[in-house]
């Protein structure tokens, strides 16, 4: 599948924006002023691409490294940063923190029980199938949460029922601090797809074009009603599982080696070669992203704190049909 130039540029811009946000949240977590820890996704930025290919009415679940999903789906940085600082203006009024939700953008929340999204995505697939409007659900998970039994239930029944779901494995090689070789009997997780009678593919997760083209095919396939598929993106996270952990389970050399495979300059080169981008554009896009982050931080800092009076009124919806 060929990705249009317009979409490629949108992917690039959102990659820059979500990375700027990621750095800001790292700063916040390290300053101690931001309450929840931050699970940085630096190094896994190419994951913006599949999200950029979704329709506005599609559903997407994200892992605890969700910046690429929130930004690409069109959330404002203000409501995200404010949420992390426990402000009333956050997208979840300071209740969620890393559990970000924006239902109108198909972001229906996050389960903190890793792997909890497998069955949630099945439900979104059921909705899409029953509504019959060609919607799809895209579910992101890591090699870590992929060892949960929920994967089996969800993969099996999504295939039995031919649900329009694209399963997206961001294989960064670690389940928190535990290397994949200690948690999986195989290296390439996409291999298991064939046991569920669905297509599976492993791609270089730091190659934006490869990720986008493979995801695009699986999205179209799901939209046509041909059922789920599994795309595995081999990638690596530069930061720790969360900010502040000592990362004693791997060497600096290993991290440095992966940083040379940074998806950003690789993608920039593609766009420069295609003539879609100039060095001036790169500087301008970076400046815009930095300004946007600074403005979001200012907004969060100046926003009122979350309101404790609402704690008891948010539990139940008061409505019924």
């Amino acid at each position: 599948m060929v990705i249009s130039n317009e979409v490629l540029l949108r992917i690039y811009r959102d990659m820059v924006r979500q990375r700027a946000l990621d750095y800001q949240l790292i700063k916040g977590a390290r300053s101690g002023k931001m309450l929840p820890g931050w699970h940085s996704g630096l190094g896994e930025d190419a994951i913006v691409a599949p999200v950029a290919l979704l329709r506005k009415d599609d559903y997407v679940t994200y892992t605890h490294r969700g910046a690429y999903v929130w930004i690409t789906r069109g959330m404002s940085m203000k409501e995200i940063v404010a949420e992390f600082y426990g402000k009333a203006t956050g997208c979840c009024s300071g209740y969620g923190g890393t559990h970000i939700a924006k239902p109108s953008l198909g972001i229906l929340g996050r389960s903190g029980m890793q792997g909890g999204h497998f069955p949630l995505a099945v439900g979104m697939g059921i909705t899409a199938q029953m509504k019959g409007k060609g919607q799809v659900a895209m579910m992101f998970f890591g090699d870590g949460s992929g060892t949960r039994g929920h994967l089996h239930e969800a993969f099996n029944f999504s295939s039995v029922w031919k649900l329009p779901i694209v399963w997206m494995c961001e294989n960064n090689g670690f389940s928190m601090s535990v290397k994949q070789e200690k948690t999986w009997a195989i290296r390439h997780i996409a291999k298991i797809a064939e046991n569920y009678a669905m297509p599976g593919k492993t791609v270089d997760g730091n190659d934006v074009i490869a990720v986008a083209e493979a995801a695009g095919e699986f999205i179209d396939r799901a939209r046509r009603g041909e059922g789920p598929a599994l795309l595995e993106m081999i990638t690596y996270r530069w930061r720790g599982h969360m900010e502040g952990e000592p990362m004693t389970y791997r060497t600096r050399e290993e991290v440095k080696e992966w940083q040379t495979k940074d998806p950003m300059p690789r993608f920039e080169k593609v766009l420069l070669d295609k003539g879609l981008l100039t060095q001036e554009d790169i500087l301008r896009i970076q400046k815009e992203a930095d300004d946007e982050v600074a403005e979001a931080q200012r907004f969060a800092d100046e926003s009122p704190d979350a309101n404790p009076e609402e704690v008891f009124t948010k539990i139940y919806a008061t409505s019924h049909t």
Binding site: Y59, G90, P103, L120, G123, K314, T321
Partner: protein
């Protein structure tokens, strides 16, 4: 008025609500015709609505619970048939999660999770430690869930229809001994609001609050106690969340004595919660220490003589009432 049993009342509620709202669907292990599911609907429902709206699954309790949360968040209104309440245990995380989800995300954009987790309590069945439990306290403990327990066909239909129309996750339970019990159910549509207890029997000497099958046992106990000159009032709260504490307080203020009967473990069970609320709000009305009758904190053994040793019985309820009269 015509009489139908609880199973039929449940099927009517499901069929009517599926006709009323195309977003309502039924999902569960063996819900389709020929299935072994205890509450499975009659073949006509399957024929009318098809396999998408009566979705038969395998053994996937976590996925039953959480897929329904995902579907509800994206606009559908699932009814999940867990068959027996013991099967909620493998899905505990996901059931709790349904209750936590809305407030956990700050009720972002007023998100709604309209779903029903339906199951039978199958205590006293000889199912042993994993097929006889009544985890009513566990369910009530989870924030964000509503909990209805129907004991008559009239209540089953009215409460289930309310549950399906509610924009929150509702757990709806019926004890298996009640499935075949017949009772009057009007042909015309009606709903039963949550949070309204009913007095099943009026009395003046002591109050019993009981749910599920314990209502039946408590009424039998009350009948025998009446022969001994003891007048017992039996209250069926119908929903524990929300709880009609006012109805319970009004009765305790009249009788001065309370026995709480529930099939769950007494340790941290529903008994303790109800009794605490009563002492907090009507302490001065109490003439004797409150009593509770429930599972005596043991795994449930298979043999009748053994499980009757740990589960509530008519005799144990009668003895508990008498303890309040000393």
């Amino acid at each position: 008025m015509r009489e139908i049993n609880i199973a039929q009342a449940i099927h009517e509620a499901i069929a009517e609500e599926m006709k009323r709202d195309e977003r309502v669907y039924l999902i569960g292990e063996a819900v389709a015709p020929g299935g072994v599911g205890v509450m499975r609907p009659p073949e006509e429902i399957y024929k009318e609505f098809g396999e998408f709206r009566v979705r038969e699954t395998g053994i996937i309790e976590p996925t039953l619970a959480a897929s329904s949360t995902g579907a509800a968040l994206s606009g559908m209104r699932p009814i999940v048939d867990f068959a027996m309440v013991d099967f909620m245990f493998p899905a505990w995380n996901e059931i709790y999660q349904a209750g936590l989800w809305r407030a956990g995300h700050g009720a972002a954009e007023d998100m709604k999770i309209p779903l029903v987790y339906m199951a039978g309590i199958i205590g006293y069945s000889g199912g042993g430690f994993s097929h006889s439990r009544a985890p009513i306290g566990n369910i009530w403990h989870g924030p964000g869930l509503k909990l209805a327990i129907a004991t008559t066909p009239y209540d089953a239909k009215g409460l289930l229809k309310t549950a399906i129309r509610d924009d929150n996750p509702v757990v709806f339970l019926v004890h298996r001994f009640h499935y075949p019990v017949k009772g009057p159910v009007p042909e015309e549509e009606y709903l039963i609001p949550f949070g309204e207890a009913v007095v099943r029997k009026e009395g003046t000497d002591a109050t019993i609050v009981a749910d599920g099958y314990q209502v039946t046992l408590s009424l039998e106990a009350a009948e025998d106690l009446a022969k001994e000159g003891i007048s017992v009032e039996v209250i069926d709260p119908r929903t524990l969340e929300p709880l009609d504490i006012d109805a319970i307080l009004a009765s305790v203020e009249k009788t001065g004595r309370l026995v709480v009967v529930d099939e769950d473990h007494i340790r941290c069970g529903p008994h303790a919660e109800i009794a605490f609320q009563v002492q907090e709000k009507a302490f001065k009305s109490l003439k004797a220490p409150m009593q509770r009758v429930g599972n005596l904190n043991t795994p449930i053994p298979m043999a009748k003589i053994l499980h009757e040793a740990v589960l509530p019985t008519k005799e144990k309820i009668m003895a508990a009432v008498k303890r309040t009269l000393v």
